[in-house]
Symmetry: none
Amino acid sequence: MTTVQPAGRPLRRDAERNRLLVLAAARRVFAARGLDAGFDEIAREAGVGAATVYRRFPERADLVDALFEQQIDEVVAQLKSAAVDPDPWAALRRFLRWGMEAQAHDRGLAEVLAEAGHGHEDLDRGRQRIEPLAGALISRAQQVGRLRPGVTPLDLLLPTTLFARVGTPEDADIRERLLTLLLDGLVVARTAPTPLPGSPATEDHLAALKSPRRGRSAPAARRPRPEGAPAAS
Amino acid sequence: MTTVQPAGRPLRRDAERNRLLVLAAARRVFAARGLDAGFDEIAREAGVGAATVYRRFPERADLVDALFEQQIDEVVAQLKSAAVDPDPWAALRRFLRWGMEAQAHDRGLAEVLAEAGHGHEDLDRGRQRIEPLAGALISRAQQVGRLRPGVTPLDLLLPTTLFARVGTPEDADIRERLLTLLLDGLVVARTAPTPLPGSPATEDHLAALKSPRRGRSAPAARRPRPEGAPAAS
Amino acid sequence: MTTVQPAGRPLRRDAERNRLLVLAAARRVFAARGLDAGFDEIAREAGVGAATVYRRFPERADLVDALFEQQIDEVVAQLKSAAVDPDPWAALRRFLRWGMEAQAHDRGLAEVLAEAGHGHEDLDRGRQRIEPLAGALISRAQQVGRLRPGVTPLDLLLPTTLFARVGTPEDADIRERLLTLLLDGLVVARTAPTPLPGSPATEDHLAALKSPRRGRSAPAARRPRPEGAPAAS
Amino acid sequence: MTTVQPAGRPLRRDAERNRLLVLAAARRVFAARGLDAGFDEIAREAGVGAATVYRRFPERADLVDALFEQQIDEVVAQLKSAAVDPDPWAALRRFLRWGMEAQAHDRGLAEVLAEAGHGHEDLDRGRQRIEPLAGALISRAQQVGRLRPGVTPLDLLLPTTLFARVGTPEDADIRERLLTLLLDGLVVARTAPTPLPGSPATEDHLAALKSPRRGRSAPAARRPRPEGAPAAS
DNA sequence: AATGAATGAGCTTTCATTCAT
DNA sequence: GATGAATGAAAGCTCATTCAT
């Protein structure tokens, strides 16, 4: 069971309230702007001072780590649900679609899933929970003769992460179209193409790719975290 | 015939020299850093003052527009070469691979191809030269019964642009792997999957997706172009 | 001959003017507040933007180094003048008095003389010019039988630096009184004490010792100086 | 008899306990960091909240005043012990050495002794207990013909306070060396210098002078003490 | 009465853009 | 016409002090 509570003594009521406000704000801001969003903006969105964010989360990584569990948990839950589906190929398709859309609606999630190393130990551990589950799903889909052999979880994460960057969150249609192409490439054999859903891509979908650029590059931790301050949760 | 000369009175000799220096520098810098690269860096690379860049190209878009023709021309040349290939499906594959790699090696190109509207009229016109040629190639590949019906040029540009963002320029292997999946999805029918080349994706390939972020976001023109200054070319 | 000009191509007229304004301002501010003074304050005092100070002197050490030569040169000039004095004991007394007052009027100088290492290579070299000259003066004063044996230049710098912290710049009287005590301790022998000049110390003189505390502690260079930028002079 | 009890109604048991914890912590922190130490650090050292310190001691001066008596008492005790020494010159030397080292080991003490006026009425009264005792010791040393005439207690406090700032607490050697010079200047007459103990000063001793700077400057009371809050003790 | 949290003000540093020479 | 410099705005971060619980 995931908990957002810090390990030690529970925070004071108002502090906990603010902490949750900050987390929720960070979630929204990260979703909209990516993990490089300014602390200022998160603080403004949360309705607290910037220093309050720093108090709870001295480093950006602390904020990311505090958020990741919820996000990873959702992915894991989806995979577990897929694991019990009697039709593994259908389950895989559903999972890929869900994952693609989840990332399309949350740029932060997309970056969290991509972010390897960089001092996010918790995060790395989280991803390691995903991999075997996805691997199992892949194996089952291969065993029933639908999914081509040789593909790995990362081989599938990569294109879906990329497709998630297409269009705005509302443009699920065009992403579904891309996913259809991908799935027709993933299937072992077929006699005809799956009909392409939605409408062809437009220039707008392309233009929306520009967005990832925003804010300064992550300056990374300059000091390795002073003494105490276990970064809340 | 493409010309880099400005329309009005020809520039003084030294001014023209500087203009070309800036363009060449911008090409290199955009390729390496993307279209958001600082004017400072371009000026340094060109060996001129920052203000000189601004004089010739008051807005970033002017610089982009002045560069696009060369880039588009290369694409057009490739398409024309593909148009005379007796095997349209093989030609399409080659073209997609070439386009993907070209973008992988030139971040600026990838962004130029994606950049629609946003006051880049020249650019929009340029893309319109590409579309019919690509459409013809697609049609031929469909007519010989290899390419699935329903796909449009943009439907193909989109995934290749995305795949181009994977890994470093040197990581052609992993991009080829993704392209193989895509092509197996594009073919009308097949009895077995095309063997996947290269090795599965790694976390490094994912992590490299982060990179696009750099520098500040393009703040757009603050004033809508003052008085004279017809943006050079 | 000391020059404040940068080594390479001379700066543009206005830039040089600003550079000198900044140096003069830094001199004043360092004198009043010590080397930890904020760049903001220096910029304000110079009448330029803070970023201008950073352009010329990316690191605090660059500013300090650019100023130190003038300061060290003055010390060296005094020592050379003392070296030709036929009465070495009188010359030593005069030099100690001058040095003490110079530091009393310029907190920056006092800190520069005290600051060892810390990446100020030029500064360290500067101090090494002082030491042999002071050593020679000391030797001569010992040879004429007035200065006690065993004392080194640093043994004398230390108390005069400390005495310089007493009172405000105007309180030369009380510092002279302390120096008299010191000199009576430095002389080889005496039959009577030198009359103490001025008036006894007061609480105000003590209170003025508080002052050194100011501003944040020097944060030191975080990055070891990027690439170019030879820090002006 | 000195008492740390507040004047008015006695504090609640736990409040009194906290008050003493804070005082003890402040003593330690002031000793190590000087009187500018942050209230935060004192609170942490005492194991109480920062606001608790503010409640008991709304101004830094209140804390200082509450501590000074213990410190002054120690000085007075030393002076009383010196007063009964049959050799007043030896007693004076011992007292100066003791005072110098006491300040060297307690930066707070050094600053308390220097802090005049600035609204520390209690403190000023305290110093007035010291002065006559020190004056008597001085007189006796002068009467036996060893100490030069004309020096006052403050004339001696000043150099010893300054010498106390040299080096770390462990560097008693170099301070003793300085004190030797001073004493040779204080003695009425002598035929030879007292041998200098220890080794000559080094750059490290100079560099250590820099340290006093830490934290922001004491911004003084912004409001002249609001309503009640009689500053505890 | 005590607390830990919140904050606002301050300094540092960096660019994109404009300006005086 | 060209230049290098100047700048304002913004973000990151910290700390002394005050406040809600």
